[in-house]
Symmetry: C2
Subunit: 207 residues, 2 copies
DNA sequence: CTAGTTTGTGTACGACGTAAGCTTACCTTG
DNA sequence: CAAGGTAAGCTTACGTCGTACACAAACTAG
């Protein structure tokens, strides 16, 4: 999926010093730091060190730290909904979306507050969700109603993940909630809320 | 509700310099700064200035900034669910909770990311929601099911508010979304998701 | 070789959270 | 009233953060 290590992203423009950095490389390194050490460790200097580069060099590719976080959010959201949507009824597709989104969020617990704070660009989001929206269209559900259902579920998944990964203060290790009983509790709660919402929409949107 | 301005919170202990500060006064000032100038402006120095006090004085009442934010969250959540719960069926009480919670969140848009990041202490939260939970009990709904429903709705409300107040970068004024068409869009979306969830739970929890 | 262009670097500034020790203003005891 | 105790607020200082600005390096085109 990546070019062989050692190759360099060739700029489109003509001359100039060859770039050792790129937006993607920066974002990927940011995700690694985030997963390994948490949000507080994700500073420009630390990220520079990780990439063997001065902190200021990052600003050639991103206008500021907030843009980095936004890019990171987009990256993770794309990862979450990357799988193609199978040809199933929209209720099932909606469930699959919720599960995949949640799986990604829980795989990157320290990113969840970022998803909450830096909303995914709406146009980008809708493009990524085109496959899902098509399942609604295939059943004759109006686009507006489909958007409402998808957004509502998305918002529920994010909110639920926030509740699950939220720790009192800055408890770092951010234990992956090794305790299986706790995990089961959240799983069941998640399922119940999701089921309620999906069946609620199903009743409303099917004639 | 407040003692006449000028009175000072008398400490319980014996001697000592009279306190001009108190946790409540600090939290109240923090809310004012947050509403007027946003989260970024809510620094310890700025808060000190607002209270005519050195920044370090705040640390006599709070261990660190994060504790301030947590206290602020608790304050707002309590404000949100302060109203007594009327003797209505749980489906209606659940709707009322959702509306009141959302109203508070939208009244303090810059606090929404904080609510997302600093979870309300669960025991405190359940105490504040006792009236609501009692409506479920009155209909014979098991406590566990009631908790699931309430938490699910709470999570949905918060997630929805995040989506509504979330701005691209650090767009400050944080316009109260003066545009009524935009507000109506979010209102309708909110209602649709809430209705789906409540009716979904209703079908499951009523024999 | 020279000029042009892009990328990475070094230095520096202002703001932040907050640790440590000092001062102030009250109460109690004599 | 004087002396001591004690809690609240203040001053100073440190380390870290994001990032502005001017410069050096590494390439391509002529």
């Amino acid at each position: 999926m990546n070019p062989p290590a050692g190759s360099r992203p060739r700029a489109a423009g003509r001359g100039g010093r060859p770039a050792v950095l790129s937006r993607e490389r920066i974002v990927a390194a940011a995700v690694e730091i985030l997963d390994a050490e948490g949000l507080e460790a994700l500073t420009m200097r630390r990220l520079g060190t990780r990439l063997d580069v001065a902190a200021m060099s990052l600003y050639r590719h991103l206008p500021n730290r907030d843009a980095l976080l936004t890019a990171l959010v987009g990256h993770l959201f794309a990862e979450a909904v990357a799988e193609p949507v199978p040809a199933v009824p929209w209720t099932e597709a909606l469930r699959l979306f919720a599960l995949a989104y949640r799986r990604t969020l829980l795989a990157h617990p320290d990113a969840v507050p970022l998803l909450a704070t830096h909303p995914v660009d709406v146009d980008t989001g809708l493009t990524l969700l085109a496959g899902l929206l098509e399942r609604f269209a295939a059943s004759g559900v109006a686009r507006q109603d489909a958007l409402t259902a998808v957004q509502s579920v998305g918002v529920y998944v994010l909110g639920h993940a926030l509740a699950q990964v939220g720790r009192p203060p800055g408890t770092r290790p951010a234990a992956p909630v090794a305790d299986p009983a706790v995990a089961a509790f959240y799983d069941e709660w998640f399922e119940a809320g999701l089921l309620a919402m999906v069946t609620g929409f199903e009743r409303r949107l099917t004639a």
